[in-house]
Amino acid sequence: MNAQPIGAVSGDLLYLNGVNKTFDGFKAINNLSLTLAKGEMRAVIGPNGAGKSTMMDIITGKTKPDTGQVVFGASTDLTKMDEPAIAKLGIGRKFQKPTTFENHTVWDNLLLALAGDRSPWFTLRARKQKSEEEKIAELLETIRLTDHRHRRAANLSHGQKQWLEIGMLLAQDPELLLVDEPVAGMTDAETEQTAHLLRDINRTRSVVVVEHDMTFVRALGVKVTVLHEGSVLSEGTLDHVSADPKVIDVYLGR
């Protein structure tokens, strides 16, 4: 990895520099540096234990790094903030295992995710609003769940849950989406639709996708970062990293 200048370059949305995180003596993240431009979509791949999820945890405030910089936008230091603060800043996260509110309807899941005041004082007095209903209807179209809007999330198929969670992410109106294995457990057709959806989202927002499915990564057609043992092993187009001997050695070749 080339040495990065200290401080984010203007135009960068996310900037990680020299990040380290150790769990019980195990280096999960090892001097990781990564830059994401505004409006960019990036695919992150790597074998199990490469540090992909820990990286997501660090960006979203779930885990605090031992050392290193994590900067969002011009100068917001994410290491000093907790999860709700980072979420309000405009970073949305989709979990590996689809996590929706099982007892709520599809509609209510989206309603609770809609950008807005998050305080109990507000939600105690909140009433249905026309603007909210319009936004939700629009989101339902995007994630193709309009016909399922009154069903409880618990009763959705796995693929539908994945889509609902992406819809909830969009409802937050974030600037950056972190998407962890969005096509796990999806059919080929669903996978293709998801790639299409993410490319669509990428028109207005920046996206980081962690994925194992190479067909899907190819369908996204974006720059790929390969993680290995907590740091960046290779970066470039999928063809470029696939041809990289280091990558073949640790990941594709095994």
Binding site: A28, G49, G92, H104, R118, P120
Partner: protein, 391 residues
């Protein structure tokens, strides 16, 4: 969470209370229809338990907080009322001292401690009934939820909380009557407590408060706040990544629930005529959880039903076979866990297609509660493992 139960529950509660009141006051004691003071008193007591059960269901059913210490708030509300009733005795005590309660004279105190001032005035005491449990709940909840203590760990510290208060209130120098507590009350705002009209009025007031608390709880869980609360119960970390602060959501319902429990305790004391540290006993809090489990967790009306039914059973059984009650209670808990995991109302609502907002993930796993806790533990374990694996 049916619309039907929204109107039916308060109507039944208040209706039955009024019928009992009429049959008590308007029929001669010789009539076959006459309802004795004893029965009216029992009904009033059950309604106070129903308030405690509602409080437990709010936090357990809708926020996933398995509280094993809610009787502490009930007892604190009771003590506030007890302090008022004690001051109301005035010079009619054994020592005929209008300024100092008997038990203080007995332990040689010369003047009223500062924290007893104002309790002779009924409105002040009633405000304290709400404020004292609220303050304890706010401090405890703030510390516990901010530190992200949850699951079994939280249950254990709620149990420790009520046990600590039990020990504290046993001490004479706390100034609350030590292990004897407070009793021998004479009247409440001028109405003699031994008169059947007072007993009946207290029972009807308890019914009104129970119905009111039920409607308030329904409004609360039906609001968007309530939706977020259920979301916190089912997927707490998801709410955090959406920008919600679950600790504040839990804190609000926790404090409101403590206030409802406190009101229950305050109504309980004039009807049973005594308050002592025994009300803080950990077993009382656990019993309240069983009422809710029997009636149906997360249904609110089930909490009321469970409290009344289980306590009715307790009255019958302790009369017939005094030693058997604890075995029966334990057996009931096991039976409900095995065969009626959603409780009476939960099961019924499901049959009629009105599904209560119960945790689906736990549906098939016996009693949602205990399971929820173990599932949380397993999840926590898996999280740690995940961290290590990703690492």
């Amino acid at each position: 969470m049916t619309r039907l139960s929204l109107t039916l529950t308060p109507v039944i509660i208040i209706g039955v209370a009024i019928i009992l009141a009429i049959l008590n006051l308007a029929t001669p004691a010789t009539s076959a229809l006459h309802v004795s003071d004893f029965v009216v008193g029992l009904a009033g007591k059950y309604l106070c338990y129903a308030l405690l059960a509602l409080a437990v269901d709010l936090v357990w059913g809708f926020a996933g907080i398995l509280t094993l210490g809610h009787a502490a708030f009930f007892a604190l509300g009771g003590y506030c009322m007890g302090m008022y009733l004690t001051r109301e005795i005035g010079a009619r005590g054994v020592y005929a001292n209008a300024n100092l309660p008997d038990f203080m004279i007995f332990i040689g105190w010369k003047q009223l401690p500062w924290y007893w001032h104002g309790f002779a005035w009924f409105p002040f005491a009633m405000v304290m009934v709400l404020v004292v449990p609220a303050i304890l709940a706010a401090v405890f909840g703030f510390l516990a939820f901010r530190s992200r203590v949850s699951g079994v760990y939280l249950s254990i510290i709620t149990q420790a909380l009520t046990y600590a208060l039990l020990l504290a209130f046993f001490r004479n120098d706390m100034g609350f009557g030590g292990n004897n507590g407070m009793t021998d009350f004479k009247d409440i705002i001028g109405f003699p407590l031994n008169r059947s009209s007072t007993t009946t009025a207290l029972m009807v007031i308890s019914a009104i408060f129970t119905a009111g608390a039920f409607l308030f709880a329904r409004w609360l869980v039906g609001s968007r706040y309530g939706q977020v609360l259920v979301a916190v119960r089912d997927a707490e970390s998801r709410t955090r990544f959406l920008g919600y602060r679950p600790e504040y959501y839990k804190l609000v319902v926790w404090v409101l629930s403590a206030v409802i429990a406190g009101i229950g305790g305050a109504l309980y004391v004039p009807q049973v005529g005594i308050i002592n540290p025994g009300e803080f006993a950990p077993a009382n809090s656990i019993e309240a959880v069983i009422w809710v489990a029997v009636g149906g967790r997360g249904t609110l009306s089930g909490a009321i039903l469970g409290a009344v039914l289980v306590n009715f059973g307790k009255t019958i059984l302790t009369g017939a076979l005094p030693g058997a009650w604890l075995y029966a209670l334990g057996g009931l808990f096991i039976l409900v866990t095995l065969f009626l995991p959603k409780g009476i109302v939960g099961t019924f609502a499901r049959r009629t297609g009105n599904d209560a907002a119960l945790p689906t993930a736990h549906e098939k796993q016996g009693l949602a509660a205990i399971d929820g806790q173990t599932a949380d533990l397993a999840e926590a374990g898996a999280d740690i493992e995940d961290g290590e694996k990703t690492a």
